[in-house]
Amino acid sequence: MSLLRIRGLEVRYGGIRAVKGVDLEVAQGELVCLIGANGAGKSSTLRAVAGLVPTAAGSISFGDREISGVPAFRRARAGLVMVPEGRGIFSRLSVEENLAMGAYARADSGVASDRARVFELFPRLAERRDQIAGTLSGGEQQMLAIGRGLMSRPTLLALDEPSMGLAPMAARRILEVIRDINRAGVTVLLVEQNAQGALALAHRAYVMESGEIALSGEGRTLLADPRVREAYLGETPA
C-alpha cells in the first residue's frame, strides 16, 4: 500500500529548476533511498516532501491526502517527519530538551516511554542527557536529530544525508540504526551521498541526476548495476 506518492514534482529556486518532474513512490514499511551526485536535486525533493520548500508543480500525497499545499508543521503532525541535512538540532538546548521538542505536538501519555526507547537505541545520548546539544560530536548530534524525529511518532521518516561528515564507523552505525527503525515499522525515505551503505539497506532505490530520476529498482539490483558502480561507487570500469 502506497504511503507516499509523488507525481511530476518540480521545485524551483528563483530561475533554477532543481527538480524537473520527479515520480516517486514509497510503500508502507519500505525503506527507499534516493541517491545521486551533489546538485542532483535529492535534497530539494526531500524538502518539498517535508514542506520546507514550495512545490512549483506536481502533486504529493501522503496516505490518501494531497499535501502539496499543507504547511510543514501540519505534515509533521500527520506523521511525515523530516530529519534535516546538517542535523538542525537546537544547539543551546540539552539533549533531553531537544527530544522533548520532538514531542511538542503530542499530548498523549506515550512520550516518556518513547524517550526511554530513544535512549535504548542510542545509549551515548542517555549518558549525555543533560549535555548541551551544541557540544556533542557530529555523530552524536546526528543520533540526537534522529531521536528527536522519532519522538514525533512518525509514520514516515525522511532523512537528508544522515551520514554526511561522519566517521566511517559512525556512518555505518547510523545506517544500521535507520535499518532497525524501519524494521520496527517506520517507513523510511532516505537521501544519501553514501551510495554503498544506503543501497545495501534499501528495499528500493532511485538514482537522481540533474533534477530527474535516471534509474530506479531494488536496492540490490542497483548495487550490482555497472552504471551505478561506476558513477557512484567509484569503481573504474573493467
Partner: protein
Amino acid sequence: MLEELAGLKRHPAAPWVGTAAVALALLALPFALAAAGTTWVRITNLAFLFVLLSLGLNIVVGFAGLLDLGYIAFYAVGAYVYALLASPHFGLHWPFWAILPIGAAVAALFGVLIGAPTLKLRGDYLAIVTLGFGEIVRIFLNNLSRPVNITNGPQGIARIDPFRIDGIDFSKSDTVFGLVFSGPIKYYYLLLVVLVAVIFVCLRLQNSRIGRAWEAIREDEIAARAMGIDTTRLKLLAFAMGASFGGVAGGMFSAIQGFVSPESFVLVESIMVVSMVVLGGMGNIWGVILGALLLSFVPEFLRFTVEPAQRQLFGKVLIEPEVIRMLIFGFALVLVMALRPGGLWPSAVRKRELTARDVPAAGRTR
C-alpha cells in the same frame, strides 16, 4: 522614439552628461527653493545633514555590519564641541575650519570608546549596548552643568557663532551678481561640498582593501579572522570613521541652528537615522542617500499639504504634523520591510542575501 532614448543611454558621453545635469540642478536648486520660501532651503540643509549622518552610519551598519542604535551621540559630540569653542559660553570664538576637524576627532574618539566594549558582542546585544551609550552621552550633556558648568545642562548653549571665513558671514545675506545669497543658501553650498567629499570618501572606502575587510567581517567574522583580518582594529575603525562623519555634521548643525541642547539628540533621532539607512538600502551609498532625502522631505511636504487640507476638510488640524511624521516613519518601515526588505535601493550583496534560498550551513544543493 523610446528606442532612440534608450540608445542614447548607452552613448559613451551619457554618464558625464547625466552627472553634469545633476550638478547643474543641485547648484541651481537653492534659488528655486528660495522662491518658495527660505524655509525650504533650511529644510534642505537639514536633509543634507541627515544624509551626512546616514552615510556615516552606513559605514558602521552597512559596510561592517555592526548594528549601532546610539549613533546620534556622535552628532551630539560634534555639535557640543563646536558650541563650546564658538559661542559666548566659554568666550571662545575659534574659526569653523579649525573646530570641525577637532569635532570630527573627538567624535572618532567617542566612537572608539563606545565601540571597544562592544567588540565581543553580536547582533541584539551590540544594538542594546550602543543604544545605552547613546543615551548616556545625552544624559551626560544634560547633567554636566554642576559642579563646573561645561554644557549648561538642559538649557543648552545659545548664540553659537555662525561660520565665518574671509569676511563671508554665513548668517547674513550677500548679493553677488544680482543673486541673493541668504545665510541658509551659503550653508547649502558648503554642505554640498562636504557631502561630495564624504560621498567620494565612502565610495573609495567601499572599493578598497579596508572595505572588503569590513564586508568579510559582516559576512563571517570567524572566517575573516582566520584569513588574517584584525577584526578588532577594523571594527574600531568603522566606529571611528562613522562617528567622525557624525561629528562634522554635528558641528555644522550647531552653527546653522545657532543653539544646541540635549533635546536635539534623543533616542528617536538615532532610530530615525537607522531607518533612513535601512529603508534606503543598507550598504548601498546611493540607496542610503535616497532614504535620508525621502525621510527628511516627505514629512515636510506632507506637513505643508496635510495641515491646510485638514483645515479645509475639518476646519481645524486634527493630527499634529509631528504625529504625522511619526506615523509616516512607522508606516514606511512596515511597508518597505514587507515589500522590499533590502531597502528601496538595495545593495547587490543585500539582494543576494535576501533571495538566497533556504540552504543549510554547508551551502549545498542548487
